[in-house]
């Protein structure tokens, strides 16, 4: 008797936390006619971005998940956008690395902290009225004040714990088995306001969220409680340096209306809007720094 049996296979595990990766470039511009092409590479703990700036204007970007090593993540992020617009690395005049992996960008001409880069990027994206910037990154959170030129005047960073960060939201997304992009809208689909989860720690917030589900909370209510906790957490950071008009949010969480609207409500001011992907602010700022440095270099060479 010849019977073939196959072992039952486990169902494919869905990755609810997986956010949308993006590649974009401005088809109305031609980089080949540009005088200076610069690139900013932001290697963050969760996402990596490569931004191309042509003569001081945003030309294109690639935003993707950070891999298991910074040099590869930087290379892949840049390759993604260069392939799209038919560019080669030798066509780029200056590269600035930023983010926690900035010193590991193998082809960078200079490394600049993400604090300065986010301020510069937000200044470009939101205009010179931007004064207070909240960057909700993958595993840290920064509150920044800047002047009309995008120069940092005051900053505060909390990278000791993941509360109030993108990673925290990814954990809740997986726990609730709801795609991360749906968390924000679903957090408003509740019949009454809910209290924030009491824990500021992602690990304990996760167990608290499970407890709420067992107590009969709907998923939407749990998400709302977590969004509220995240908003309260970052607002307490912001209040330490003070909030001025011209409030701008960068980082992946800026795409989550469930957190953004609650932050606005707590602060009593509305965040400035932009058409540019909020996640590229750091890399964009790096590329703009690159443009300034490349321009200075070109001017010095011309004067010599």
């Amino acid at each position: 008797m010849n019977t073939e049996t196959t072992a039952p296979t486990a169902p494919e595990k869905k990755e609810f936390w997986r956010w949308q990766e993006n590649v974009w470039f401005d088809e109305t511009k031609d980089w080949k006619t540009a005088k200076i092409v610069t690139c900013g590479i932001d290697v963050g703990s969760v996402s990596s971005q490569a931004v191309l700036v042509v003569d001081g204007e945003l030309y294109g970007f690639n935003s993707m998940r950070t891999g298991n090593n910074s040099p590869d993540s930087a290379t892949n992020a840049l390759a993604g956008i260069m392939d799209k617009c038919g560019m080669k690395q030798e066509d780029i005049h200056f590269v600035v690395g930023t983010g926690y992996g900035r010193v590991n960008v193998p082809f960078a001409d200079k490394a600049i902290t993400e604090i300065a880069c986010h301020a510069r990027g937000a200044n470009y994206m939101g205009g010179n009225g931007v004064r207070t910037i909240l960057d909700m990154g993958g595993q840290d959170c920064k509150a920044i004040h800047c002047d009309e030129k995008g120069k940092v005047t005051n900053f505060l960073m909390n990278d000791k714990c993941a509360a109030g960060t993108g990673r925290g939201m990814e954990v809740i997304s997986d726990l609730m088995q709801i795609p991360i992009a749906e968390l924000g809208p679903r957090s408003f689909d509740i019949d009454s306001d809910v209290e924030a989860v009491s824990s500021v720690c992602v690990v304990f917030a996760k167990s608290e969220a499970l407890g709420l589900l067992k107590a009969g909370y709907t998923k939407n209510k749990v998400i709302a409680a977590y969004c509220q906790a995240m908003a309260e957490r970052v607002v307490s950071l912001l209040e330490r340096i003070g909030v001025e008009e011209g409030f701008f949010i960068t980082g992946g969480i800026a795409k989550n209306p469930g957190v953004v609207k609650r932050i606005e409500k707590l602060l009593g001011i509305k965040a400035m809007e932009t058409k540019v992907d909020s996640q590229i602010a750091g890399a964009l700022g790096a590329a703009l720094f690159g443009y300034t440095l490349a321009s200075k270099k070109a001017a010095a060479a011309a004067a010599a």
Binding site: I112, K151, V152, N154, F155, L156, M157, N158, K160, R240
Partner: protein, 94 residues
């Protein structure tokens, strides 16, 4: 620029603020470097090409413990880093 180094956790807020505008042309000859018993201060070139002091990265996450020996409960009436910094660039939040 006011640079805040440290963190906030369940037990409180622990930040050391450095006013880098007062730090650039240090009138105290970088006395903070030697005043801190844990040698937490370091001179770096910041993003705007200025030579300023900052708190070493590993210490930023353990300030509550690192600074405990210099706090009033350990016998100090004034913090060594703040006393050494005569331009008044350094402040503690706790």
């Amino acid at each position: 620029m006011i640079a805040n180094y440290g963190y906030k956790d369940g037990s409180g807020e622990y930040y050391i603020s450095i006013d880098t505008d007062k730090c650039i042309d240090c009138a105290a000859e970088r006395a903070c470097l030697t005043a801190c018993p844990k040698q937490m201060f370091e001179i770096i070139e910041d993003d705007y090409d200025d030579q300023v002091a900052w708190i070493k990265k590993p210490n930023c996450r353990t300030l509550a413990y690192d600074c405990a020996d210099c706090k009033p409960s350990s016998g100090y009436t004034s913090l060594p880093c703040i006393t050494a910094c005569t331009p008044g660039a350094i402040k503690h939040s706790w």
